[in-house]
């Protein structure tokens, strides 16, 4: 670690370095141009994200560490980062018009999204408890501000405060857990912790106590029940563009981080943490399914829907082998695409230039906007896991892995809650297709919103035709975690 600074050793982190520099440059530029330049900053942010993705794609995805061992790059991180960047791109692209319509077009928005994205990319590459914590805080702080971005409305401010207070508590727990683990393992480095755990049986129990706290902190980020309380309020209160971000990206990053922590340093303790994750998964599936039944606000409903999706994904984590992680990655990939499409529709729900958010507002969409309604119905059926749509395959692979590992009860519970969840997805379809038309929405002028919806609908509809490439990408990426 001492000696000369050698740039080539830092190349594995090149995408993050570029994104960090670009974010700071845009922050400075924005400060000079002011809010009238928001649109320019947004476009610059899009370019930065795209270039970051290109750098990432151009890199070798083999496992490599940067000096100090705090940052690891492998194909698992590579795929997750690509998903994160794609999510960021979609969010920024779709919010340009939204920010203008809601009169919150401040240049900080794209910059904060980029900082949050940077935090998330560092999270999935964390190889040390400290880099994990710093990365997690970087993304969280950016997200707290974003949740309160529409600061003139009470809802948004409330969402920001609520998210911040609860997030701070979870960070505290995480940090407490990390300190316990450090105290007993004598290191914060993932590889070192793994070694110590293998060498010394005696420290497993105290480390488990620390791991529980770390898991609580991470469960908060993926909003697994019982640490989900913030999710519905923040989803509903935050500006819709920010909710889109919340639904799309941090979930994926936090889930990837969870996987990295559990399968990296604590792989040897799989039976121990498996019980905790089982509890989280079961509770998330059940609460996510039942609590959503009575929701009228579509953003709130999507919050519960995302909780239940995280429950399914956690089943793959419990399986604790290569196939299990592969199925989680596949599930997250499909989940991201579906969610992006649904939020593209939610963003376009405006009447008389005001955003509307209740499910009833979608009434008769099949008459006023047949193609949007058709695409939305496909996405919702896909979320419910009805074949032949993509969402079915996500669930199918999760259940295959669960049954393969002998978790029959989890699989049965999973399919049963998916039937309950099907009800609320059907309810939206019912409102769109069966109910009498309400007043039509304002014409959707957002080209990017329409493009996202189109791509997402096309993906869920045609996934069945050629599923193997996507499945292979997800499964191959997860192999990186299991190379010793």
């Amino acid at each position: 670690m001492q000696g000369e600074f050698e740039f080539s050793a830092w190349v594995p982190a090149l995408p993050e370095i570029f994104l960090a520099l670009a974010s700071m440059a845009l922050l400075v530029a924005g400060a000079f141009i002011g809010n009238k330049g928001t649109r320019v900053v947004c476009y610059a942010a899009l370019w930065s994200i795209a270039v970051t993705a290109l750098i990432l794609i151009g890199r070798d995805w083999g496992r490599s560490l940067v000096p100090g061992g705090m940052f690891v790059m492998d194909s698992f991180a590579g795929l997750t980062k690509l998903m994160i960047l794609a999510g960021l791109f979609a969010v920024v692209a779709m919010s340009i018009r939204y920010l203008h319509q809601e009169q919150i077009n401040r240049f900080e928005f794209p910059v904060l999204v980029m900082f949050a994205g940077l935090g998330m990319m560092l999270m999935v590459s964390a190889n040390d408890m400290l880099s994990l914590y710093v990365a997690l805080e970087l993304q969280s702080l950016a997200l707290y501000v974003l949740a309160a971005f529409h600061r003139d409305t009470a809802y948004s401010a409330e969402a920001g405060i609520k998210y911040f207070v609860l997030g701070a508590i979870s960070s505290g727990m995480l940090l407490f857990g990390i300190s316990l683990i450090y105290g007993f393992a004598g290191s914060t480095n993932f590889d070192m912790i793994a070694h110590r755990l293998e060498d010394m049986e005696a420290i497993r129990l105290p480390i488990l106590v620390g791991l529980v706290f770390v898991l609580v902190g991470l469960a908060f980020k993926i909003s697994a029940v019982p640490f989900h309380m913030w999710t519905p309020d923040v989803y509903q209160g935050a500006p819709t563009a920010v909710t889109t971000l919340f639904a799309l990206v941090p979930k994926v990053a936090a889930m990837a981080l969870l996987i990295r922590v559990l399968f990296g340093p604590f792989a040897a303790m799989a039976p121990d943490w498996g019980q905790i994750v089982t509890l989280l998964a079961v509770a998330s599936m059940i609460v996510g399914a039942f609590a959503a039944l009575g929701q009228e606000n579509i953003k709130r409903l999507m919050a519960f829907s995302s909780i239940s999706h995280m429950g399914y994904a956690l089943i793959g984590v419990i399986v604790a082998d290569e196939g299990g992680v592969g199925s989680v990655m596949l599930y997250l990939l499909i989940y991201m695409v579906m969610t992006a499409g649904v939020f593209a529709v939610i963003l376009s729900m405006r009447r008389d230039n005001l955003a509307v958010e209740s499910i009833g507002d979608l009434a008769g969409l099949a008459r006023t906007r047949p193609f949007v309604a058709f695409a939305m119905a496909a996405l919702l059926f896909s979320m419910a896991g009805v074949p032949p749509l993509a969402g079915f395959f996500g669930k199918f692979f999760i259940f295959v892995e669960a049954v393969d590992a002998g978790y029959y009860v989890l699989a049965v519970l999973g399919v049963l809650t998916s039937v309950v969840a099907a009800y609320y997805y059907l309810r939206i379809v019912k409102v769109m297709f069966f109910d009498e038309s309400a007043e039509p929405f304002d014409p959707n002028k957002s080209l990017s919103g329409r493009a996202v919806l189109f791509v997402a609908a096309l993906f869920v509809l045609t996934f069945i035709a050629w599923p193997q490439p996507v499945i292979s990408i997800a499964y191959d990426a997860s192999k990186a975690l299991f190379i010793q």
Binding site: P387, F392, V412, F433, I471
Partner: protein, 509 residues
């Protein structure tokens, strides 16, 4: 002769038609007419392909024919694997036959959102034909479950006043049943390492596992068929669905349940089938007697026919799980015949509904005076439903009862009472609607069936009679496959029996 993928073509042709329909713009009458024609020609062309397949089908061959195999998800060995044998052949034909019938039947009665209706129907046809042709269990599930979506929309958009309740009930009931099958399919896949149905058929799994899997499949197919006591979605769905929806539901979708029993439960889990036979027989007989009695007191014509469907499906399960050649042949025949007859009966109700907009029995009476042609056609279907010898209904019920008697005189006798009850409710229906005093002056002014309705009803009536007089037309096509199925079942039973006594035999020697 170059093999061309006739099954895939038959499966996807309706989907192509549906995609084409969705690109037709405009809401006017002109556009609607074009859409109807596109849908009709697509379905007729599919029917032609189905007839061609039946013609080319080798009747002496018991295994799968027209097999297509393409890699689909190679990482887990799931393939695009299609093929038909004697069991599925005629269901495919039935599906291809009823789709144009449904399209013609909704020619005038569907006036709103014609595009979506026709597209939904063609997509439904794709999924149903795919279900019958699939030779891969995952592929089967995809098609099987996928058919919920278009049917949900058909009931929900074009249905009657309680359509929303009925569509939810239909979807959630069937979804709940079939997710258990999904788990069972996954277990089967992991146990055997393959999803190919022919391979799964070759080698049954162990006895204990069979029991669980059989129950999981029962959950799915019993809801779909439906068997009592999980039939309650059916009357609601039938009553609220538009005429064409009822026809397709009764004619095809219910048959997928029976087909599933024949394709999966009986040959793959022979020991479990034998073990649970008393359960199935009890449920079947219960369904036959109970739903017949319920049908007897119905005031809504569609509901009456819906309950009669449940009763008729009771015969099907009796026949299938008697596991004899006669019983299984009878079950298949009964399903085909019921597909025609109940479909036609729903069309007959639709004819009246289009004129008077009520399905109440009491609103009609004495219409034989002003609708003689209608009365004649209705009579043929009514008698077919009663299972009068000479109609197709008789052959199926006779054979399934024969199969049931071979197993148990008690269940056979109880099942046979259903024939009497069936005659009771159908004759009551016919007498009150067609004969009797004219109670409603509106009903007395109704026009007789028009040409469009005749085009649909007459061929179906002829088919009912032809199949009743020459059942061999069906029988010799299905016989080899059914014999193979039954021999597989018996081998499975025998195998386990031998395992149990094997030590003794070796000691004796």
């Amino acid at each position: 002769m170059i093999e061309f993928p006739v099954l895939s073509l038959m499966t996807f042709l309706p989907l192509l038609g549906a995609l084409f329909i969705m690109t037709v713009r405009g809401d006017g009458e002109e556009a609607a007419r074009n859409v109807r024609h596109v849908a009709l020609y697509t379905s007729l062309f599919t029917l032609a392909l189905a007839v061609y397949t039946v013609g080319r089908f080798d009747e002496t061959e018991a295994g799968f024919q027209f097999v297509e195999y393409y890699e689909w998800i190679p990482s887990i060995g799931v393939a695009w694997h299609m093929g038909i044998d004697g069991i599925s052949l005629l269901f495919v034909l039935l599906a291809a036959l009823l789709t144009p019938v449904c399209i013609v039947a909704s020619w005038e009665s569907i006036r709103v959102r014609v595009h979506e209706f026709m597209a939904a129907f063609l997509i439904l046809e794709t999924l149903v034909i795919g279900t019958f042709c699939a030779l891969d269990s995952v592929l089967f599930y995809v098609f099987f479950e996928g058919s919920l979506i278009p049917m949900f929309l058909i009931i929900g958009i074009w249905g009657g006043p309680r359509r929303i309740y009925a569509s939810y009930k239909f979807f959630l009931y069937t979804f709940l049943g079939s997710v258990f099958m999904l788990i069972a399919l996954i277990v089967l896949f992991l146990e055997k390492g393959t999803t190919s149905i022919p391979e799964l058929l070759d080698d049954p799994v162990g006895r204990d596992l069979q029991m669980w899997l059989w129950l999981a499949f029962l959950a799915s197919f019993a809801v779909k068929l439906p068997m009592s006591p999980v039939h309650t979605w059916l009357p609601d769905a039938h009553v609220e669905a538009p005429t064409a929806g009822s026809v397709f539901l009764a004619g095809i979708l219910l048959k997928i349940g029976g087909y599933g029993f024949l394709r999966f439960s009986l040959p793959m889990f022979p020991e479990a089938s034998q073990h649970f036979m008393p359960l199935v027989f009890t449920l079947s007989v219960f369904a036959i007697i109970y739903t017949s009695l319920v049908a007897l007191v119905q005031k809504d014509m569609k509901k009456l026919i819906a309950y009669s469907s449940v009763a008729h499906m009771g015969f099907v399960t009796l026949g299938i799980f008697s596991a004899s050649v006669e019983g299984v042949q009878g079950a298949i025949f009964q399903m085909l015949s019921h597909g025609l007859i109940s479909g036609a009966l729903f069309l007959c109700v639709g004819v009246l509904y289009d004129r008077l907009h009520t399905r109440e029995l009491g609103a009609y009476g004495g219409i034989v005076n002003n609708m003689p042609r209608y009365a004649t056609l209705f009579m043929i279907f009514m008698l077919g439903s009663v299972a009068l010898p000479g109609t197709s209904g008789f052959v199926g019920e006779f054979l399934t009862l024969l199969g049931a008697f071979e197993v148990s005189t008690l269940f056979g006798t109880l099942g046979a009472t259903g024939v009497i009850l069936g005659a009771a409710y159908m004759l009551v229906l016919y007498r009150r609607v067609v004969f009797g005093p004219v109670t409603n002056p509106e009903a007395a002014k109704m026009r007789d069936v028009n040409d469009r309705e005749l085009v649909v009803l007459v061929p179906m009536a002829l088919l009912v009679l032809v199949l009743g007089i020459f059942p061999g037309l069906v029988m010799h096509r299905i016989a080899p496959s059914v014999e193979l199925l039954v021999s597989r079942y018996e081998a499975g039973i025998h195998q386990s029996g031998q395992d149990a006594v094997a030590p003794e035999v070796s000691n004796a020697r």
